[in-house]
């Protein structure tokens, strides 16, 4: 039985980097990548916990998340392309039409 704390730490670091990327970066592509990073951080935690508890559900959830992430990436990138065609930019700070 391996102590899961190291894995969980890794997971937290990955998730944290992802969060900072989402909040701080301006490039939409980078933000999408950061979201992927957050998802994979969570995946690490799932797998670690599943392995620690001897429960296959953790692994199953990881696959589930990957599937969703793939779909999300597809939709997200499509939106990104549409956005670029419309605005000729992928700087998120330029997108501020919807406000009070």
């Amino acid at each position: 039985m391996i102590d899961p704390s190291a894995y969980l730490l890794l997971s937290a670091i990955l998730f944290g980097i992802g969060v900072v990327g989402v909040v701080a970066r301006k490039n939409v592509l980078i933000i999408l990548m950061s979201v992927e990073l957050m998802l994979n951080g969570v995946n690490v935690a799932f797998v670690a916990a599943g392995s620690y508890l001897g429960d296959a559900a953790g692994g199953v959830f990881a696959f589930m998340v990957m599937t969703v992430a793939a779909a999300e990436a597809a939709v997200g990138l499509a939106l990104l392309i549409a956005l670029y065609r419309l605005k000729e930019t992928i700087d998120i700070t330029e997108l501020k039409v919807l406000k009070w």
């Binding site: 989402v22 909040v23 700070t93 997108l95 501020k96 039409v97 406000k99 009070w100």
Partner: protein, 710 residues
Amino acid sequence: MVNGILDYLWLVPALPLLGVVLNGAIALFAERPFLLADSHGGHGASSHGPSAHGTSPSSSVAHSGSHHEAPAYRKLVAFIAPAVVGAAFVVALLCVLSLASRPADGRTFVQILFPWIQAGSLLVPAALQLDPLSSVMALVVTGVGFLIHVYSVGYMSHERAFARYFVCLNLFMFAMLTLVLANNYLLMFVGWEGVGLCSYLLIGFWYEKQSASDAGKKAFVANRIGDFGVLLAMFLVFWTFGSLTYTEVFARVPLLRESGVLTTGLATAITLLLFLGATGKSAQIPLYVWLPDAMEGPTPVSALIHAATMVTAGIYMVARSSALFLLAPDTMMVVAVIGAVTAIFSATIGICQTDIKRVLAYSTVSQLGYMFLACGVGAFTAAIFHLMTHAFFKALLFLGSGSVIHALSGEQDMRKMGGLRKYIPITYWTMFIATFAISGFPLLSGFFSKDEILWQAFSSSHGSPVLWAVAALAAGITAFYMFRLVFLTFYGESRMEPEVEKHVHESPWTMTLPLSILAVLSVIGGWVGIPAVVGDFFGIPNYFEHWLAPVFHPVAAAGAHGAAAAGAHGASAAVHHPAALEMGLMALSVAIALCGIGLAYFLYRVRTGKPAEIAKRWPTLYDIVYHKYYIDEFYEWAVIRRVVNVSTGLWQMFDALFIDGIVNGAAGLVRAAGDRVRRLQGGVVGGYAFSLLAGAVLLVGYILYRSVVQ
């Protein structure tokens, strides 16, 4: 016990209700689309205006010719509406005959239809009660109602909203029969409100005319004041007796009287409040003002609702509650005085009116005053008797005036009539008979009932010579203005417009037949109640008094048969007053009536210039009477304007400032808050992401905190 036909008593109100449903369906699905399509068509504008309707359907003869053929549904309506009422009359008649075959003390039949309201100790069934009192009412309502339905078929034949009219009329019959046949105050009140609604609908039948719709509203509001009294009285009755059912309430009277619960003050309060309702419905001072205006409705409606049946509901209610009224001498005095004052007051107004229907309207108010006078002196039998005979001759007078108006293409002003005797003989003769009847001419129906009231006003323990004198004077005035009406309308030179004179015609048989039947009833209707002082001489008993004795003299009737009860009652009066006195007073009242007739003959046949001369000599007096003592203006000033002012004040202060302030304030608060909060929507996506993160951190932090603390 086998009840036979009495088990079908429910059919009496149910049949008119069936008529409402059938005619209502026709009005809704056949007539309404037809009228709507028509009014959108080419001649809609010219035919739909109130002026085309006028106050009489005959004024629309001219344009109805240009319409399409009369649609087939009208024939169906013209059959259904009178048929259901006629059938109700037959059922009611059979029920009453069945009731009459029972012994006098067993003549109360109650049919419980279904339990209606059950709340705590309040148990109100939907139940019908047929006893001598309600049977008289039911027969008068269905009988006269049937004749007026038949008459309406002819009178309204040119009316466009034919089905709507008969729906309202049938609905009125249903409500009125519910009123008289109910076995408790609450169900009676349902009928009471129902007839008020139908009265409103039918007064405002020609609602495109401003005065008609105003008159409808006036009637409704005036009645509402009275209804308030009835409601309070019902609360008091339930509070005191623990029941609203007639038989239970009246059965508990002696016991509660003994135990001191039912004090005279309480009885006075209940009866005064009931009487307030009666003054509204039966058009007595101070709430009589709506009845003359109610003449805006079609004339058969005036005859049925505002002369023969609905306005007598107040009398019926007082008579029904006679056990309570007899406990409250103060109320009895109020009822008698109001009745007598109303009788003479409205009779004097009738002298100067020029509109034929308004004369009859004030006459109705006056005659209702007589009935209340009778109730007030404890002569409930006489009141109901006069109610019945009045229903005959006043319905006849109204229908006759309708026939005159019909003949004259809508003319109601008696100054523009005259000499109609030879043009419309049936109308003339029937109205002539009715005029003699209402004047109290010997042997006609009005004579017996009016004289009974006069005698009771004089001799009863509640009565006094003053009341007799007032009532006798009013009788004289009645004779005067009724003959003035006849002389102005049917005698003398024709004062008609030449255009109108060309079209004068006798009415169709559907109108003259009811007139003739009512004329016969106006003559013989009084013979069922010939007073003992005359009847004993010829060996004719007073059937009417015997019939009602179980209701009004239950103690005596329980001991012996009705004859003995009436005998005992008559005896108690006869102890103090010899028969010669009664005969003398009878002769005196006939003499007064003949004086009135003679005066009318003198002023309107012999010296026709005299009335104008009199009016000129006392212009102020004439002006006051002509303007109905300015009562409407006084009410306008004393009550209506004040109510309007208070309402305006409440509207501006309470509604506009307070209520609207709360509502608008709440909205303003939300708006101001939203104005601040919307700044959060900055358009910076990173900001949203950050607030998402912050929210998540807070949430997770809270959950962790909770788990740590625990």
